[in-house]
Every structure is written in C-alpha cells, then in structure tokens.
Symmetry: C4
Subunit: 250 residues, 4 copies
C-alpha cells in the first residue's frame, strides 16, 4: 500500500511530463500572441486570456494531484515549496506576469534532464528561454505606461540583453513595478548566468592548469609500481623458501 | 583568576547574543519607521531618534564591557577593530547612516552561525538584509536634496537592485556624498555577492566536472586492492613457512 | 583509398592555413578602409566591396572543398556547423556585418594554435581583435542613422570598451538592429572574457591557496617512504632466510 | 666578473627600493597638489611640474642603470618591457597622465612584497591606490573640457567607483580621449579586481566544499594504516623464521 502510492506518484509524473511540456510551450506561444498582437479584437483577447488561465489551472491541478499522491505529505510540501509559489503567485492579479515562472519551471525540468551534462548548451538554452519570456513579460507590463521607454518587442529584447549581461546602458529601463519585478528576476538570472559561464571556464582552467588529476594519477602509478616490486620480492622470497623446504625436506 | 576572566567574557557574549539580536532588529524597524513615515510629528521624531541612540549606546556599552572582560586587551583590540569602528563611526554626525553597520554586524553574526553551511541561503539572506538597510539609508540621505532622483522607498529599492547587480542603468543615482557612501558599500557588497555566487557555482562545477575526488577514490581503491594482494601473499608465505617448520621440526 | 582522403583533407587544411590567415587580415584592413574612409569615391567603394566579396567567396570555396574532401561527410557537417553559419550568414544582405565572424574564426584559429598555452596572452589578443572588429562593424551599422550616438571611430571604440567591460555608461549605444546584433555578440564576448580572466585568477588561487598538489605530493612521499621500509624489511627477511638455508643445507 | 655584475644589479635594486618608494609617494602627493589646488599661482605650478619631471627622470635613470648592470641585456629587455613602457610613454606630451603608471609600478612592487600572502588585503590596497591615482588623472584630463561632467575631485572619485565596480550609471563619464584612456585602464583593473575577489571566494569554497584535501588525507591515512599492517605481518613472519632457524639449528 505504502509502496504503491510512491509508485503512483512517480507514474503520474512520468506520464505528465510530455503533456505538461506541451502545455508550457503552448502557454508561451499564446502569451506571446496576446502581447505582440496589437490589433487583436476584444473577443480574441478574451479567448487567449481564457486559454492562459486554463493552462495555469491544469498546472494547479497537477500540483494538487501530486500532493495527494505523495505518501510523506510534509516532505513533499517542503521539497516542492517553489512549485507551490509558482502556482499561487499568479493568482494575485498584480503578479500575472509571474505566470511565466510556472511555465519556465516545467520547461527547465525537461531541458535539464536532457542537457545538464553539457553545461554550455544548458546555460545557452536557459538564457534564450528566460530572455524570451522576460522580453514578453516586460513588454506586457510596460507598454501602456505613459513614461515607458519599452514599447515594442525589439525594445524589450534589447533591454533584456543589456540587463542580463549586466551592461545596463540605461537607454531603456522599466518604470512600472511589475516591469521592475521582471527586471529583478532577470538580474538574478544574469548574475547566475555569469556565475555558470565563469565557473565552467574556471573549472576547465583549474583542471587544465593545476593538473591535479595528472598529479594524482602519476602518484598512483608510482605507488602501484612500488607495490608491484614488493609483490615480485615476495614471490621470489616464496620461491626461495620453497626451494629451501624442498632441500631440507629432501 | 586568568581562566575565570576568559570564561566571563564568553558567558557575557553568550548571554548577550539574543538581546543584542533583538535590539538590532528593533533598530532596523525604528529606523525604517523614521525614514518611511513622512507625516510623523516633531515629537514622534524625537522619540524615534532617542530610541536609535539608546540602542546604539547599548552596543557601545557592550563593546566596552567586552573590552574590560578580555584578558589579553591588546589582542582583543586588534581582533575587534571593526567592532570599534562600527561603534565609533556613527558618533560623527555626518556618518549617521553608518549606524546600520553596527546592526548589520550583529545580525550577520547570528545569521552566519545558522546558515554558513548552506552558502546559497546565507548569501541570499545577507543580500536581502543589506539591500533593505541600503535602501533605507540611501532614501534617508537623498530625499531632501533638490537634485535627488531617489525620493521614495520604491525608487530606493529599485536603485539598490540595479546597483548590487552591477547593472547600473543610471535612471536613478545618489547625488549627496552620504548617499554615495552607501553606494560604495553596496557596490563592494555587490561584487562580493557576485563572487560568492560565481564561486559557489564554480566550486560545484570543479567538483563535478574535474572529478578530482572520484579520481582520488579510484586511485585509493587500486592501491588498497594491491595492498590486499600483498597481505594475501604474506599470509600464504607464512602458512608455507609454518608448514616447513612443522615438517622440519617433526 | 579511405586513408588517402583523410590525409588529403589534412594536407588541404595545412596548406590553406597561411593563405587564409593572410586573406583574413586583408579582409579586416579593407573593411576598416571602407568604413573609416569617408571621402572615398563611388568607384573606390565598388572596388573595396568587390575585394570583400571575393575574400568571402574564397572562404566559402574553402568550406565546400573541405566538405568534399571529408570522408565522413555527416560528421564533418555536424562538427563544422559554425563554419557553415559563418559562411552562409553574410549572404543575407542585412547580416553583412557578420562577415567579420568568418574572418575572426580564421584569425582565432591561428592565434589559438600559438598562444592557448598562455591563457592571459590569448585572452588579451582575442579581446583586442574582437574589439577592433566590433568597433568597425558598429560604426558601419550606426553611422548613417539619424538618432545614432556612435558616429566616429573614436566613439565606436569607446562604446566597445564600455560594453565589453559590462560597465555600460549609456552615453553611447546602438539604435539600429544591426548595431544591436554586434552589441549582443560583444556582450557575449565580454561575459566570456570576464569568465576567462576570473577563471584564470581563480585557478591560480585555487592551486596556490588550497595546495592540493602539495598535499598529494606529501602524501605520496609518505607512502613511498613507508614502501621503502617494507622493501628493506623484505630484503632483510630474504637475507635471513638465505642464511638459514645455507646453515640448514650446510 | 660575470657573477659580480649580477650581484651588483641585485644590490642596486635592494638599495634603491626605499628611495624609489619614497619618490613614488612624493610623486602622487605633488601630482594630487597640482591637480586639486585650483588657486595655485603660475610660479608654483612650474615648481610642481618640475618636481614631477625630476622624479620621472630619476625613474628613467634607474631603468638605464639597471639595464647597464644586467649581464644578459637581451633577457633584461624582454622581462622588463613594461618598465620601459612605463618610462617612455609619459615622454609623449599627450600621455602625461600615464606618468602615474610608473609610480603605481613601484608602489605595487613594495606592496606586493608585503601583502601578497593575504590576497584580500593586497587586493583592497591596490584598489584604493589605483582608484586614487585614476581619480586624480581623470580630473586632470577632463576638468577643462567644455562638455566635461567630471569637474571636481568628488565627481572623479564617484566616477572611479562606479567604473571599477562595473556599475557604470552614466551620470558622469569622460569625454576627452585622455580621460577615456584612464577609463580603459580602470576598467581592466575593475575586471581584474572582480576576478581576484571571485577567485579568492571560489578557491576558498572549492577548498571547503569539495574537500579534496580531506579526501586525499583520509585516503593516505587508510594506505598508511594498511602499510603498517603489512610491516607488522612481515615482522611476525621474520620472528617465526628466526624461531624456526633457532630450532632447526639447535
């Protein structure tokens, strides 16, 4: 019974992987449509908004289902706190922009499963994905503010680039607090990106320049060679002993 | 006598830990109140200012008491130089803003004791704490300057974010020298934060990619296996020797 | 037959090294002339443009020839994807600016062959080369735009510097999308540069401060000493055994 | 004869250490006076300028003397190329600002000798020194330009801070090419500073988190313990052999 439930959670998560990834991609596409299409009619807007909320609802249902299937509910709650936040935050109307986080979490999970081995590919992919979502979100937040300097997708993409690279010319910057929230998340992403790139290069250099592994390998070879000599010595000793015994016994 | 005094210092510090942490939190709250409450009457202002000075005084008394209890006073002076600065600097009227450093020192100590193991949690916590204090301090310093671009807490928080991430759009920046002092401390903090994040990622990658530990472990297993063979050889040799002795002695 | 073709590819690449490097340098010089010479006549402009396209054509021919010579064409295609992009992208009229990437690839290859050992020299050289090309490209892209803030080579070089160091004052910034494309590549370069410098210093510090190698060396010396003792013990044992045998046999 | 000359160079350098450090400090002080004192008369200006040139001349004479004393002149020339540049560059009138590099080289040498062990103290000291010199140099270069935004020492120090931390608000930036040259050197310094800080933290974290040394130490202890067992085994074996010999010989 206990075992069965854990297995049911795992089976649920395995089966849900592809549909959720598909929904996440659909979410980004619909959100991009909603943000980028200026000439959309009121009717279309309602449809797009409805699709976004339905997808979000499916993510919420998925969280609830996984919580129900988890045997150790307290542990599931503690280890999936970020999942809960990603589901609850977009409910607050002002944090609508954060719906993309739910989506990013799902996409990142699939992406991580495939590419974490190649740190470079993974970092590049995540950066492009985060950059795209941030551009859409900041454009959505800023566009209708009278003092906004980010009013087209081109502006938003350029602003995203200058922010994530921590260059920050200041020719464009968010003025609404929703836009600044996106900026905050993007800056954290930019710093982490910098950390991953630097870390990858540093770890590669550490390995290559300091040659720790080579040193250990050489040391080990020396020890192994010495030990082989000891064993040869022992074998000879045994041979001599056998000869002595044969003679003494003969 | 000598031993007793060292113990008395340790006991003083242990007993003072919680009250001082509480006072530090109270200080930040009162300071935030003073800075953020624009409609406060002159009477309230005097009370808040008095509370801040009393808390600072308690920190000063704590330093003096610890100095008195220390056996090797010269060594205490040298190793607690930063404590002394944190107590003395706020006495200069123009460096009032630096009173928050005294507080940050106490809070950091408690925080470090709890979270230094998890570098990520510790870095995040310190960043939020430093960011909050810097926002209050820069708002306090800038607000009444005619050319100031930082006049609300929202502006101050946004400026803190763009500064600590080293993005620096330049849409808001301090113009008073007190504000610039806060900026200088924040930039140093930002660089250190970047260093900690990069360092954490780099150390994780070094460990994971270069596989030094695995290499050492493998090498060690090889050596251990070789040594087991040597001992087996020795055991057999001894067995043969015993057999030879038995026969020869029989 | 199979072996021969691989050898023919290698011979082609070896023979092509110097001419291609020469052409790459010539390309940069002609491009710089075209961009910097404001008083050039229409006739000269056509000649310079023709030279650039001829050099690009030679690079394209080189790619095709190498593809033809490769035995495992699928593997060549996969491992030389960036070469293909560097050849195809400049064909799109709007991406003319990217022709410099073809050139940078060739120069970087020669440079890397010579200096990759000294990471510092290599990083400095690549930075100067990339900076020079980016300055020319951004000037070419921006100069004729009415809102441009980058209109002279001095401006372009200064902008390149503030961007690659991620300082980003914002006194000058590209406004055309071609200029922003150059900026994007430069920012990626700047982040990588930061990573290389930080990584080099970090790896040097890791080596120097943590003293892993010393520790391994010391451990190895201790093991070696212990092993020498074991062998000495064994030699003495053998000596005694020989003595015993001699006596017993005598 | 050969040995003597090398020794004479070493003695020259040892004897020159303190006087040159003193002159370097004097240079910075006089330069600061010249830059910061706006009300100085023409006569005083001539005196200050003369003192600066005399000090520079002594550095030049020192280089020539060391070159003369060096046995392997070609090798001295190659390894002291930066010294030569630091001496020659200030001769060009437009590069006057670079005279401070000569001085920074001397001060850095003394500083490095003392504090390189403590990377943190060394980095902090060099940063303050470079920042001070850069502030003076940029103020000297910018002050009299009509479009200058850096016109007081406070502005210059603030600009230095925003540049070396790579924040770059863009509220102040150099407009003369001499000022931009100082900015370029400062940015390189800022990137290196970031690298040193990140590297120090990373190396500390690598050491602490990955625990390579502990792992090696533990592995070594295990090997040593195993080897002690082997020796004990051997000793027992020898004892038994001796006993056998005694009995057989008895």
């Amino acid at each position: 019974m206990f075992e069965t439930d854990e297995r049911r959670l795992a089976r649920w998560e395995r089966r849900g992987e592809w549909p959720l990834t598909g929904l996440a991609v659909l979410f980004v596409v619909v959100y991009a449509w909603q943000v980028l299409d200026n000439r959309s009619t009121a009717g279309l807007d309602v449809v797009l908004e409805a699709v976004l909320w339905i997808i979000w609802l499916i993510f919420a249902v998925d969280y609830v289902a996984r919580f129900k299937l988890a045997v150790d509910k307290r542990r599931f709650f503690a280890t999936h706190l970020f999942d809960l936040l990603a589901v609850l935050l977009p409910m607050v109307r002002q944090l609508r922009v954060l719906r993309l986080i739910t989506v990013l979490k799902v996409l990142n999970k699939r992406f991580a499963g495939r590419f974490r081995q190649q740190v470079g590919v993974y970092a590049a992919g995540v950066t492009v994905l985060v950059g795209l979502c941030a551009s859409l979100a900041v454009l959505d937040a800023e566009r209708h503010h009278p003092d906004a300097s980010i009013t087209t997708f081109g502006d938003a993409a350029w602003w995203t680039l200058t922010t994530i690279s921590t260059v920050g010319y200041g020719d464009r910057y968010p003025v609404t607090w929703e836009g600044r929230l996106v900026a905050a998340l993007l800056m954290i992403g930019g710093i982490a990106l910098l950390g991953v790139i630097t870390g990858t290069i540093a770890s590669w250099l550490v390995e290559r320049l300091s040659g720790v592994e080579d040193s250990v390998a050489e040391a080990e070879q020396a020890t192994a060679a010495e030990l082989r000599l000891v064993r040869a010595e022992l074998a000879e000793l045994r041979e001599e002993l056998r000869a002595a015994r044969t003679r003494s016994g003969g």
